[in-house]
Structure formats: structure tokens, C-alpha cells
Assembly symmetry: C2
Homo-oligomer: 649 residues x 2
């Protein structure tokens, strides 16, 4: 008997391992197909289907195949067993079956009406992986990469607008979707498709918040390829990155909002608790992410006399960088904050400080590593979304709800972009033109974050309906809006920076803008965002010298009585490297850009808007996500404007 | 009620996510500590504790902390529930508990005597992750990296010896350990520590096979750092890489061996079935791995007229390379073969063919990516081993068994190295000296593979005893033998290549060897491994031109009547790049080396043994795991010996 048991258990185990391998192999196969397709498309300059759209399509087909080819119903699965001895579901369950003890692990809670859905086959069940893999493994590299490759200069130049779209815009979008969906839900209750108590206003708001996370990855990839206007790129990129963070925290806050009495009535106390919760979590996550990045910067900056610098061991440096950044995410999650927000700001801070301390080898290693991880994670998620349409067992497709959601999403996007752009244009010197607004409206794609938020909880029927609807909206927006990007750009006459700009004209425009900047320098200096000027001054004088090898030595920036401390804290290389401060350059360039853009803002065709130094300095930004390399190029240009620097310093 | 349920479920889920984050965070923290420690050690040139040893130590401490600090017994866990309705354990179990259906997933089978062990805390249970993660995620990058960074030239020069140690040596080791352990088991039964029927001879052999997988990662790291003799390095590295593959397949074959009657008696049919199984699995895995690599090579080589080459998109190229290599592993697993063997030979073949087709950017990307993944995976495994000493719930420490295992492992290593070295020295022109043999004996560390094989099945008490013993042996060998490497090298007078070699003397030796090679060329050509000469001729003439851009064009190597086919298949760049064929160089160099080494083999101090062209060509190999760069360097040297090449071609 003993022998027999051993034999069976080995066979079972082998079967188990092979199962895991088969699932991973399917994903590998889909990704390989996707890569080969991208290659094909790149060869034919075919831009109607982005890689993510392709990944989704292949996932869909694979899901269909698995669904209809490997149909082997597992009879046991549909049966529900009674267990009266248990009071609550323990995490591990030991069950004695025919004199053999088996260990079972808690997976999830199922509503009664879903029990029948479990008669599907085992293969499908295994292909649907744990949502925590999304949150802990797949999303962090994508978000970190977004933060790490943020075009700092253009981002900070448009920070006001980006923050407005991200915070105010997401809130507007969430409320508008919530209201419209509440109307549709009421209608559904009226015609008897839904029971009153199943869907509260907070559920609608929950749906609104998760559908407010935009992910214009397809659009941005095309912008990147066509070298579309840098400012439009930055506005969209910055908005979508921050907006994800806002939407995630918002979703969390709404799920916590629980009015004491009638769930449909407004409870001021609970509302303010949620608002406080939102602010607290956002600020906490921000602090957590930045502090991990500062620790990384400090470690990579250490210049103790007896120690070789960490940058002499690129592997250790890359490893530490990777692990500390991931830890920012995990610590935030473990502390009950939002890891995505933490890892986003960790990425931004790493790019700002740590990147300067890395060895050239590590700079390339980290950049390539995160690029690669981002590429893989993104395509895995989109493949999985395709698969989920068939592998997820409890879809609830309600035509009215889906129609409502499509309407709501578009109305919400419109009431986010147009009114806010109008308000922003009142304050902005460089207006956001009409066709940019249309393009931003059009780029309201939904993607990984909306999906991940929706799949997090699919326990009840309303949640399942939300998940199915969110999935369909992702499909629709990625394929239709993503595919329509190139025609839309042509139709809106948003031309790429490269096309139609005469190099001579470019030089002239630059010269003109420089002379203009010399004239109006004082006025623009006062006008341009004073808050960031203060921050930049502080950052440049104190933080950069403390955390990196760039910037002026602390001995020259700190007051005289601090000089012993300053001398202790200053990197020896800072004395020699005084030219390396790209921030002064930034500020000047900032002014230049603003003026330059202002002077050409009235010319209707927008390619003109981005001539001059926008093109000269913005070009390599878009092409490479350069992270500081642009700064060095600027120095060369900058040495010619020496008087400017001196007047600022 | 609905609201309450939702609220609870959200809270539960959050808790769940945070748990996952906490576990990952602990690993991250351990890895960060390990990296900082390595940095510290590298600064102080402290070589008594390697990074893997450090990782294990930190894991141990963390396991201890978790064990004694977070003691929160989960009362439910220890209870076994009866379920008479079930006949066998289904993969998914639905249970109705207080009117709510919960889904449970099958985890494993537990022996009755282990049930009490489950009263440990939930944290510990969560820290012990699924063995399939080892096999599917953590091991492949390590093994692939080993294959990809194999020093081809030195490896093939010592291939005969390496194969002997790997195949014959592992078999000897397995049988010796099995026999000794069977003796100890008999003794244990005699004194009543074990029941007769629990431990068969096949179980002892199983233990022998898993303990035969050596992993001298610590030793090799020190060799690398100290630039120890290339041949010793290659012998050890090659042996350990192939030996892992052999041990894994052997373990599988033994676990399948099931004699029909008395399990202790010898059953010839079952034995030959196991042998056939071993050979079939090994050959199949080899074929699977190589064919994936050939596919990768072909894709990266494609030069269709309309297509840009894949190498113009380094990201896609790297992605495809990574995914196809991993697929080699997964396909082999899915087909019931051994993924580790497949991925090993996939790595070797990728390095041989595909690497030549990659863009310079991708060469660096892939190399750095696999290096990084190897680094992370290795440290995670060693951390986990440290943790496992405390987190694994069902340890069975039997002093007699452990003592027996230590004795068995050392005797087995000795009866592997010394007799085989004696036999090999009869055939080798360059003898394996006594002190090399002692060093190889000393480098029989056990590591990740032994651990992974042991943890794969811990269902029964004998298997748990094996696992606990294997774990202790890993600790012992990594710390004691790994730490003793540097003193041992000094004691055995194995000096590093760099130290004590006068550059002038080096040049003289080289000149002497060259003149010698010119004299005896014809005799040595016939003497040196004829099998590999045939293979290299075939590879150089047909495979390399077919799969890569190196080597002579097919038009010149194929017979005349094949010329239309040849012209079709030849890369246009091959015509221009005829100088790029490093294999001719290799063969010549091979002869040169052999002679050179032979001429100096009688000089006792071994640093002398590695002067001349061994040093000239082997140096950069060890330092960078260069993969072909060495070939280019050789060409420079080679152009001087043009007559030789012509006489060979």
C-alpha cells in the first residue's frame, strides 16, 4: 500500500508541475506571437494595431481555443459540501478523505449564484491567476518605469495643468460616471433587471473611480513614433501617470466610505472621513516612495574614505536599486498605503537624484532593465485581459449597463478635459489649443489599472457586472480609439515635430527666441511658476549637493556658520564638477521655452508651435526617455549664454 | 446584511494583499542586507563568507525571528475535518460555512503524523512557498546563465573529462551514497529508530541522486576573483553544470523505478526501464533545448529582402530571446522531460549561434539581464534555504542519518574524483595534477539543486528526513567548505594566473610553443579529440553559415551541385565577413594549447602550467564570461599564422 501511494503521489506531483508549465508556456507563446507581430507591423509601418491591442487579440483567441477545445468538465467542482463544524473560513483546511488527509488553501468567497459557474474545466480555472499577482508583480514595474522615464523638464513645466487634470479631472470623471451610472441603474431597477438593494450610489461611484484611470499607452506609443508635439505628449503622459495613482486611492477611499444609516443617503461624517483617508493615503504613499528613493540616493552617494563606491560594482548597484524601489511599493502596501503611488514617486525621485550617482554602466542597466520589465509586464497584462473574456467564469454582461458605461465614460472624459482646459487656459501663457483638447479627449483609453481595480473584487454580482463592463470598455477603447490615433492626428492637423520644419527656419526661430528671452527675462522670471522656482532653488542648492554629485558644493550654498557641516557633507567630486548642474540650465530653458511658445502661440498650425528650442531640446527627450542626458546636451548650448547663468546664480 | 458582507470582504482582501506584500518585503529586505554585506566584504577583500553564505545566514536569522516573535497559533489549522461524501481530493473544493460558500484550492497531501505540525502560525506557512516556484521561476535563469556563460573554448577542450565526471562520476556518487545510506538505515532499523518498511534501497538511491548535484558557486566565485587556473575552473564549472542535469534526470528515473515484487530486490526489467528512461529524457531534453535555440538563431538571422532585421529593435530581440529560452524550459516540462537540462543546452546553443546574430546592444542587454536574474534568483534561493530551517514545519532531524549522510557525501565525492582522475590521466596529455584533484574533492559543495530536489516531495517521513538532512548538508558545505576555499588554495599551492608570471617569460613561452606547434602540427592534429574535430568541421562549414553571419559562405563549403540552394541560404554579409570565423582559429589554438600544456606538464608548480597561450587566451574568458569576444581577439593573433589556416581549410 505504501508503495502504491508513493507512486501515485509522484505522478500527481508531476502532473501538477506540468500544469504550471503549460500555463506559463501559453503566456510565453502569446508573448512570442505578439513580439513577432510587432516586428511585422514595424516593418510595414502599420499603426492601426498597437502591440497591446495585438496582445489582447491573441489572448482573446487563445481564450476561445481553451474554452472550446479543452472542454473537460470536472464533475466534483460544482458540488458544494456542507460543513457545520466550521464557524468561519480558515486559511488552511485539513480534510480527511478516505483515510488520507488533504490540505486545502482558502482562495475566495463565492456568491451562491456563482456556484454553477464552477462547472467549467480545470484548465480555465488555472489560467485565471490571482489578482494579487497583478498588484504585487506586474503593475509595479510598469508604474515605476513611467515615473523613472518621466520627461522631467517638460513635466515640471506643465505641472500645474497635469495636476489639475489628474486630481480635479479624475474627481470630476468619477462623479460624472457615478451619476450617469446611477441613472442607468435606476432605469434597470425600473425595468426589473436589477434588484434595488444590489446597487447603491457608492457602488456607482466605485465604478466611476475605477473607470477614471486612463491608460493611453497605445496613443503615447504612436506619439513617440511620430514625434508628436512634446507638450501634448507630456500633458497626456503626466495626466495618465498621476491619474492612475489618484484613481487607485480614490477607489480605495470609496470602498471604505460606509455611511451609518441609509447607504443611499449622504453622510457628511463618512464623506469627510473618506476625503481625509484619500489625502492621508496619498500623502503617506508619496512620502514612503520618496524616502526609499532618498535612501537609495544616499547609499549610492556614500563616499566614506575607506569604502570603494557602490558604483564600482554595477551588479550590486543595479540590484540594490531594483530591490529598494520594489520595497517602496511593498512597504507602502504592507503599511496599508497605496503601493502604486509610492512606486510612482519613488521612480520620479530615483530619476531625479539616484540616477546622477549611478555609474554609466548602471544607468544603462537600470534603464534597460526597467524598460524590459515594463515591456513584458504590459504585454502579459494585455494578453491576460484578452484571455479573461473567456477564462473568467462569472461574467455578467448587461447590455443596458454596458451602454450606460460607454456613454458615461465619454461624457465624463469630455467634462474633465474641456472645462478644465478652459480654466487652465485662463492662467496659462501657452494656451492648450482646441485640437490638443480634442486629442486629449480622444486619448481617454482605459487599460491595465481599470482592469486590475475591477478584478480585485469579483465576489458579488454587481462587482462582476462592473468587471465585465470594464473589460469590454478596455477592449473597445484600446482597439477603436487606439487604432484611430493616426487618422485622428491627421484630421486634427497635429503634425509631428520633425515633419514640415525647415532647419533654417528652426535656427532663425531659436535666435529670435533667444533675443526675446534676453529682453523679457526679468518679467518672465517673475511670472513663471513661482512655487517651482522656490522648490528648484532649494533642491538645487541643498538637496542635489546632499544626495548627488551634481550641483554646487554645499560649502558655497550654505551660510558661513554652517561651513564645518557643509564641508563634511560635500562630495569631493562636487568641487570639480560645478558645471554639471543642469537645473540652472533648466530654469533658464524653462523661461526660454515659455516665451518662445508664447510668441508662436497665435500661429494656427501647431507644428510651428514646437519649433525653436522646444524642438532643439525636446527632440531627444521623446525619442529616448533620456533622463538627464538632455541636461548634458543643454550644457553645451548653455555655455554660450554664460551671462544668463551668472545673473541667475 | 449585504453592506456588511461587502465591507468584511474588502477588509479581508486588503489583509490578504498586505500579507503577500509583507512576505515579499521580507525577501527584499534580506536581499538588500545581503547586497550591502557583499559590498562591505568586497571592500575588505574578505573571502571567508560568500554572498550565498551570507544570504543563507540572514535567512536563518530571519527565520528564527519569525518563528519566535510572530507566534500566533491559528487554532483552526490543526483540526482535521471529516468528509465522507468525497471519494478523492478534488482540485477545487466548495464548502458551505454558515450559509456562505468558500472556495478552497488543493495544496497537498499530508501524512497523519504531520497534522500536528500544522499548529504553527500563519506567517510561517505563508513564507514557505510552492516548490513549483523553484522549478519554474527561480532555477531556469540560473541554469540558463550557466550555459550561456560557459567558456566554450576551454569547455570543449576538457569536454571528455567533464563528461566523465558528470555522467560516470554522478552515477558513482549516487550509488556510493545510496549504499552507505542503506547501511546506516539498516543500523537505524536495528536500534529501532526507523521502521523496516519505511526506507527501501530505492529511497537511499533517491537520496544519493539528489545529494550528487554539486553546486560549487562559492568556490567558483572565489576562483573568478583570484583568477585561478582556467583549466581547474573549467573542469569544476563544467562538471557542476552538467552534473546538475544528470542528477535531476537520475532522481526522476529512480523515483519512477518500481520493481514489481519485493521493493528491496533487484528487478532487471524495471532497472533497464529506468536506464532507458534516463537516456530518453536526457536526449529528449537536449533536443528540445537545442531546437528552441536553433529557432531563436533562425529568427534573429532572418534576412528576407523586405524585412528589417530583428536586431534593429533590441527590445523585441531581447524579449524574443528571453521568451524562447524560457519556453525551452517550459516545453520540456510540459512534455514530461527535464526543463533544467533543456534550458542548459538551450543556453549553450544560444551562446554558440544566436549570440553571433544579435546586435551589439542586444548582446549586452541579454548578458546583463541573465546575469542580473541569475544573481537575484541565486540569492533568493539561498535566503530561502536559510529561512526553511525554521519555517518548514515538518523537519525530521535524525543524528545518525545526518552523520551517515556527511560520511556518505565525502566518501562518494572521493570515489568520484580520485579514481576517475586516475583513469582520465591515462588518456589525457595534460594530466590533472594531484592538487587539482584535491581541490575538486574539496569543492563538492551542495546547493540549490539538491535543495530543490529534496523539497519537491516532503509528504512522507523518510522524505522529510532526507529534506532536513540535505538542508543541513547544504549549510555545512557552503559555510565550511566555501569559507575554506582561499586557505585551501594556498595550502594546495594552486596559485592564481596573474601572480608570479613574468610577462617576458610569458612571451618566450608563447614563442616556444608556437615553434613547437609548427613542428608537431600533423601529429597533434591526429591525436587531439577526433570526434570534436569532425563536429567542428561540420559546425563550421554548414551550421554556422546557416544559422549565423559568421563562418565561410555556404556557396564555398557546399558541393557544386548545391550551389543554387547555397546561394539562397547564404547571408549577404557572409561574403564580406570571411575573416570572422573563429572556429578555424579555435581548432588551431586547441592544438597549440594542448602542446603547450603538454610541454609544461612536468613542471610541478602549477602557475607555470598556465603560462603561454593559456594565459594569453584564457585570461579575458574568466574575467568576463565573454562569449565570443575572445574569438575576435584571437583573430588578431591568428592573422600572423596565415599559413596554418590555409593548410587547415
Amino acid at each position: 500500500m505504501e508503495k502504491l501511494k508513493k507512486y501515485v503521489s509522484v505522478k500527481d506531483e508531476d502532473h501538477f508541475y506540468h500544469q504550471g508549465a503549460v500555463e506559463l508556456l501559453i503566456f510565453n507563446f502569446l508573448l512570442i506571437l505578439t513580439i513577432l507581430t510587432i516586428w511585422l507591423f514595424k516593418n510595414h509601418r502599420f499603426r492601426f494595431l498597437h502591440e497591446t491591442g495585438g496582445a489582447m487579440l491573441y489572448g482573446l483567441v487563445m481564450g476561445l481555443i481553451i474554452q472550446y477545445v479543452t472542454k473537460s468538465p470536472d464533475v466534483e467542482s460544482g458540488t458544494v459540501y456542507e460543513c457545520e463544524k466550521l464557524k468561519s473560513g480558515p486559511s488552511t483546511l485539513l480534510i480527511n478523505i478516505t483515510n488520507q488527509v488533504y490540505e486545502y488553501q482558502y482562495k475566495r468567497e463565492i456568491s451562491h449564484h456563482n456556484v454553477n459557474g464552477h462547472q467549467g474545466n480545470a484548465m480555465l480555472q488555472k489560467m485565471t491567476f490571482d489578482p494579487s499577482i497583478f498588484f504585487n508583480i506586474l503593475l509595479p514595474p510598469i508604474i515605476f518605469h513611467a515615473g523613472y522615464s518621466l520627461k522631467k523638464r517638460h513635466f515640471f513645466r506643465n505641472l500645474g495643468s497635469i495636476l489639475t487634470y489628474a486630481f480635479l479631472g479624475t474627481a470630476i470623471s468619477c462623479i460624472v460616471i457615478g451619476l450617469i451610472m446611477y441613472g442607468f441603474v435606476k432605469a434597470m431597477v425600473h425595468i426589473g433587471q436589477l434588484k434595488q438593494w444590489e446597487f447603491h450610489f457608492t457602488d456607482c461611484l466605485f465604478f466611476g473611480s475605477l473607470m477614471s484611470a486612463t491608460d493611453p499607452v497605445t496613443v503615447l506609443a504612436i506619439f513617440h513614433e511620430l514625434n508628436v508635439d512634446t507638450d501634448l505628449y507630456t500633458l497626456l503622459f503626466g495626466e495618465s501617470v498621476l491619474n492612475d495613482a489618484v484613481a487607485i486611492v480614490l477607489t480605495h477611499s470609496i470602498s471604505i466610505y460606509s455611511p451609518k444609516e441609509n447607504p443611499n443617503a449622504f453622510d457628511a461624517a463618512a464623506f469627510f472621513q473618506s476625503v481625509g483617508n484619500f489625502l492621508g493615503i496619498f500623502a503617506g504613499s508619496f512620502a514612503m516612495g520618496s524616502s526609499y528613493a532618498v535612501v537609495t540616493a544616499l547609499i549610492s552617494f556614500m563616499h566614506l574614505t575607506k569604502f570603494t563606491k557602490l558604483c564600482e560594482f554595477p551588479m550590486l548597484e543595479t540590484g540594490l536599486f531594483f530591490l529598494l524601489s520594489w520595497s517602496a511599493f511593498l512597504s507602502a502596501e504592507a503599511a496599508g498605503l497605496t503601493g502604486i503611488v509610492a512606486v510612482l514617486f519613488c521612480g520620479v525621485t530615483q530619476a531625479h537624484y539616484t540616477y546622477n550617482n549611478l555609474s554609466p554602466d548602471s544607468r544603462m542597466r537600470t534603464k534597460q532593465l526597467f524598460e524590459f520589465m515594463n515591456f513584458l509586464a504590459e504585454n502579459v497584462i494585455f494578453c491576460y485581459m484578452g484571455l479573461a473574456l473567456f477564462t473568467f467564469q462569472n461574467h455578467v454582461f448587461n447590455p443596458l449597463f454596458i451602454f450606460g458605461a460607454i456613454v458615461a465614460v465619454f461624457v465624463a472624459r469630455a467634462s474633465n478635459i474641456y472645462p478644465l482646459s478652459f480654466l487652465l487656459n485662463l492662467g496659462r501663457k501657452q494656451k492648450i489649443p482646441r485640437n490638443f483638447q480634442h486629442m486629449m479627449m480622444f486619448s481617454g483609453l482605459r487599460g491595465a489599472i481599470a482592469f486590475a481595480l475591477a478584478i480585485r473584487d469579483t465576489g458579488s454580482q454587481p462587482r462582476q457586472m462592473m468587471f465585465s463592463t470594464a473589460l469590454l470598455l478596455v477592449f473597445f477603447t484600446v482597439w477603436v480609439l487606439g487604432g484611430g490615433t493616426t487618422p485622428m492626428l491627421a484630421w486634427l492637423q497635429i503634425r509631428s515635430v520633425l515633419v514640415g520644419v525647415d532647419p533654417d527656419e528652426d535656427l532663425k526661430a531659436k535666435a529670435a527666441s533667444q533675443s526675446a528671452s534676453n529682453l523679457d527675462k526679468n518679467t518672465t522670471k517673475a511670472e513663471s511658476a513661482w512655487l517651482f522656482r522656490i522648490w528648484y532653488g532649494f533642491d538645487h542648492k541643498y538637496l542635489k549637493p546632499l544626495l548627488t554629485h551634481t550641483g554646487p558644493p554645499l560649502t558655497s550654498t550654505l551660510p558661513e556658520w554652517c561651513s564645518p557641516v557643509a564641508r563634511l557633507l560635500t562630495s569631493p567630486s562636487a568641487y570639480g564638477d560645478q558645471l554639471k548642474d543642469d537645473d540652472t540650465v533648466y530654469i533658464i530653458n524653462n523661461d526660454e521655452l515659455t516665451e518662445n511658445c508664447e510668441s508662436s502661440a497665435h500661429i494656427p498650425v501647431l507644428a510651428q508651435d514646437s519649433t525653436g528650442s522646444v524642438q532643439a531640446t525636446g527632440k531627444e527627450d521623446i525619442q529616448e526617455g533620456d533622463l538627464g542626458l538632455g541636461g548634458y546636451k543643454l550644457q553645451l548650448q548653455h555655455t554660450a549664454d554664460q551671462p544668463q547663468k551668472n545673473s541667475l546664480a
